[in-house]
């Protein structure tokens, strides 16, 4: 049933490391890709709580129209750091750093990444970045939003803003180093028997993600360096009274940060392509279309950034050009969505928690994507830009998309990573709470925005009270929803039911090794005999390639 065949009879001579990592090895500069993957995952799940805590604070403030719970400065600090932490210390490290590092070598039959040391360095840039962000609260916290537009970002909380910039530069560097590693690994480290069209789709998604990160992140670095100089060294790139130009920053920022949103969804798309076939017991529908559409999204995604600036200093031709380029992204994304739905069609769908989150993601993401398309048109975006409509859109794609995807991935690969199953009933409670909470929290936001509620406000017009309270209730449900999840993970890690090598009967290579995998992944590298998703073929046919 496996994608490859193995020989179990050659004992390994250790390569200068113990047979098994001890717990403290996970707190050191360890170059094993699996350790690094776990390091990324655990850190990011911790930061998720911190970012979530801030969100809960925001929502508590917004339960009433007046600014009465947090001071407005603190509100803005929480808002800024909520966005920053969720993006840079939660989704990006969890999806790219965590699953990327853990899975890629296992999926392509490699013993490790191409540059293990670089990989460890990339991880260890993250904790200090988190420390800088949290430490910035000592100086009041950065308060200019995760976008940090000057001149506001240059005149409020300078010390905190400086720390914020340094933190982002650190995670940016981490992401560039990581991407170099992923690209070279997937390109050069595959087992020789694996052809390009036998690479699991998650790896294709990571290729697209890495290219995107490589091309966009340095531009953000350039923008932030200029901002840093403006704040601390007396330059005036973005200071209008000295001839500087505030809109230039916005271009530099969004040239990165639009692609950044695809950085947060492409790996998730990859996860979808892995989870759905396994739990629907069907080959993925349209392998090539899904692989190429990732690359198309990556390419088109580099040329849509101005859709965040339709009401800014943007000349008419740009508004039109970027309207059209933005809309085009719907086509390759649609191809993926339809292919996954087609993969469900005719399958033998198992209602595992992993599958529930994957299907939940499908429905959430379609909604968020469609609202994204409405935002993509300049005439309508003029009205809803910088309102809760946008907040609704991006939480649908980020929470309903990326976070659902990460959950799905955890339920799917937890057995591989720890050797134990997660508890399914608890998982289902987690799913139901998350699903309801998401709809309740993020749907009313669209209406609020259209009716006239701007985003990033600590105080709002009293006419919006009811819907805001509904949103706040939803947010509390979401906060509760993580409890069964964290309990489940903590408990199952040591006490869960033993998983075996391949509890889902999946075909990709990572399932051919032990759970958890041994230190260099395989005693003897597997040989690829067929594609990664060949479910439903006659079992005899498969066995016949063996021996």
């Amino acid at each position: 049933m496996a994608q490859a065949d193995l020989s179990f009879n050659s004992p390994v001579a250790p390569h200068g490391h113990p047979d098994k990592w001890k717990w403290y090895h996970y707190f050191t500069f360890n170059v094993d890709h699996k350790v690094i993957g776990i390091q990324y995952l655990v850190t990011s799940f911790l930061f998720y709580l911190v970012g979530g805590f801030m969100a809960v604070m925001l929502r508590t403030e917004l339960a009433t129209p007046d600014s009465d719970f947090l001071s407005p400065e603190l509100y803005n600090a929480f808002l800024t750091n909520h966005g920053t932490i969720m993006i840079f210390l939660w989704i990006v490290p969890a999806a790219i750093g965590g699953f990327g590092n853990y899975l890629i070598p296992l999926m392509i039959g490699a013993r490790d990444m191409a540059f293990p040391k670089l990989n460890a360095i990339a991880f260890w840039l993250n904790p200090p970045a988190g420390a800088l962000l949290l430490g910035s609260f000592y100086f009041g916290g950065a308060q200019a939003g995760w976008t940090s537009y000057p001149p506001l970002s240059e005149i409020t909380a300078n010390a905190a803003q400086t720390l914020w910039i340094l933190a982002i530069v650190l995670v940016g560097t981490s992401s560039i180093l990581g991407s170099v590693n992923f690209l070279v690994t997937i390109w050069k480290m595959r087992v020789p028997s694996m052809k390009w069209d036998q690479i699991p789709l998650f790896c294709w998604a990571m290729v697209a993600t890495s290219i995107l990160a490589l091309f966009s992140t340095p531009v953000l670095a350039a923008g932030l360096i200029l901002l840093l100089f403006d704040i601390n060294f007396g330059t005036s790139f973005f200071k209008p009274d000295a001839g500087g130009n505030v809109v230039v920053y916005q271009h530099l920022f969004w040239f990165y940060s639009h692609p950044a949103v695809y950085l947060m969804i492409l790996p998730i798309f990859g996860i979808m392509s892995e989870v759905i076939p396994v739990h629907a017991r069907k080959p993925i529908f349209g392998y090539k279309a899904i692989a190429y559409s990732s690359l198309t999204i990556c390419l088109v995604g580099l040329f849509v950034w101005v859709h965040h600036m339709f009401t800014s200093g943007t000349p008419p031709w740009m508004r039109i050009f970027f309207t059209i380029s933005t809309l085009i992204v719907a086509v390759p994304t649609g191809i993926k969505i339809f292919s996954w739905v087609a993969t469900l069609w005719g399958g033998k769908i198992r209602y595992t928690t992993a599958m529930l989150f994957a299907v939940g993601l499908l429905s959430m993401f379609v909604f968020g994507g469609l609202s994204g398309v409405t935002l993509g048109t300049a005439p309508f975006d003029i009205h809803v830009h910088d309102t809760y409509y946008v907040v609704g859109h991006f939480h649908y794609v980020l929470f309903g998309g990326s976070v659902f995807g990460i959950y799905s991935a955890v339920y799917h690969w937890f057995p591989k990573i720890t050797g134990r199953m997660l508890n399914e009933p608890l998982g289902k409670i987690h799913f139901v709470l998350t699903f309801i909470g998401t709809i309740l929290t993020f749907t009313p936001m669209h209406a609020l925005g259209m009716q006239g509620m701007p985003r990033r406000v600590a105080m709002y017009d009293a006419q919006f009270t009811d819907l805001n309270q509904l949103v706040t209730v939803g947010a509390y449900i979401l906060a509760v929803s993580v409890i069964p999840f964290y309990i489940n993970v903590l408990w199952s890690w040591s006490k869960g039911q033993k998983a075996g090598d391949n509890p889902w009967n999946a075909l990709t290579l990572e399932w051919t090794t032990a759970s958890p995998p041994i230190i260099e992944n395989w005693d003897v590298l597997p040989v690829v005999t067929h594609g990664p998703y060949e479910y439903g073929h006659e079992p005899e046919e498969e066995l016949e390639t063996v021996s």
Binding site: S67, Y75, N76, Q143, Y149, P151, L152, P240, D241, N245, V246, V247, A280, R281, K282, I284, F285, A289, T311, S312, G313, T314, P316, R319, I320, T323, L327, V331, G334, I335, V341, A342, L344, W345, G347, K348, I349, Y351, L362, V366, V373, T377, A378, P379, F380, I382, H383, H385, D386, H446, M450, Q451, G452, P454, R455, V457, A458, E534, Y535, G536
Partner: protein, 330 residues
């Protein structure tokens, strides 16, 4: 189900989905009152998108739910599903349909954008007419030295929405200079030297706002007009509109501009022509030296004094003003 052929089912479902989508597209009631000439254009466009979106949403969700029920694993069945790996015509179909939709939406948005006046912001600035009409020094007084620069250059890009094709070439009936500052809007009427914290405009008249920011970026938004334009320090912007409905609407700052960004709200009052004339006359009469160009000269006041002064006209609470004053003058 066995008796009814599949194409018939498809047809029925198609009709039902279309009807629901059309209905919801027209009856979503998500947008507030329409009070400008641009508003119906935007709303019609939005409703078309809602119609298409609803249809797509129902089709995709419907298929998902149907598959989940129909193709669930039955107890004891450990076999795999059908080994279908693709279907070229189907894939071509679901690539082509979205492509056609987005091209259509793209073209439609260009048309709407054009009708809203998106292609003509700053149309008059280059001739110097607007700038000459609005005396320079006066604008510089309250707010920014930047507008002066903008005037000098003459040909700097002006952002926003200008004259719609219908009134292109016409001069606006009323021009108001709008300055955003932490955390208030200031409206100056160059023709009459009125300065106010609220925007008063006559209904049915062609109004032009010249928007500037003094300190950080703000964003001028009137939800009922469906118009928004960032007020950028150092870069002039314009919004031109015809208000179509008398009433009082909120003016909201939509760009994060500091701690009290959420409090940066005021109103636009759309008067009938007579009321507007009366308002204008009464305000002009109030001016200390009605003949002088500059009535209130905030340049000589501290920000706090100035804010307290304009606060009389702004319906915000006294505590908030105190906060504002404290904030802008620590």
């Amino acid at each position: 189900m066995q008796q009814i052929p599949a194409p018939l089912w498809t047809l029925v479902i198609g009709i039902v989905v279309t009807l629901i989508s059309l209905w919801y597209g027209q009856n979503n009631n998500l947008l507030p009152v329409q009070a400008s000439e641009q508003a119906p254009l935007v709303d019609d466009f939005f409703n078309v998108m809602v119609t298409i979106g609803t249809a797509l949403f129902i089709v995709v969700q419907g298929t998902i739910i149907y598959s989940l029920i129909r193709f669930r694993r039955r107890k004891g069945d450990d076999t795999d599903g059908l080994p279908i790996e693709g279907n070229l015509p189907l894939e071509a179909f679901w690539t082509a349909i979205p492509a056609i939709i987005v091209v259509g939406l793209g073209l439609y948005s260009v048309v709407v954008f054009q009708d809203m006046g998106g292609f003509a912001p700053g149309g008059h600035h280059h001739g110097g007419m607007m700038m000459a009409q609005a005396p320079q020094h006066e604008m510089v007084d309250v707010g920014s030295p930047m507008l002066a620069q903008a005037g000098e250059g003459g040909s700097r890009q002006v952002y926003g929405f200008g004259a719609s094709p219908m009134v292109e070439g016409n001069r606006p009936d009323l021009t108001v200079n709008v300055t955003g500052m932490q955390y208030a809007w200031i409206f100056r009427y160059p023709d009459t030297a009125i300065v106010d914290g609220e925007l008063h405009v006559p209904v049915g008249q062609d109004v032009q706002l010249l928007i500037e920011a003094q300190d950080v970026i703000h964003s001028f938004w009137v939800p009922q007009f469906r118009l928004k334009q960032d007020a950028l320090p150092g870069q002039p912007a314009e919004l031109r509109f015809v208000a179509t409905k008398e009433g009082t609407y909120p003016v909201v700052c939509a760009e994060l501009c500091g701690a009290y960004h959420g409090g940066m709200r005021t109103q636009v009052i759309v008067h009938s022509l007579e009321d507007y004339a009366a308002w204008e006359a009464s305000r002009v009469a109030e001016l200390p030296g009605a003949a002088e160009t500059v009535a209130v000269n905030p340049a000589t006041m501290t920000d706090a004094e100035y804010l307290t002064q304009i606060a009389q006209d702004i319906p915000i609470e006294a505590t908030q003003i105190a906060q504002l004053a404290r904030l802008s003058n620590p």
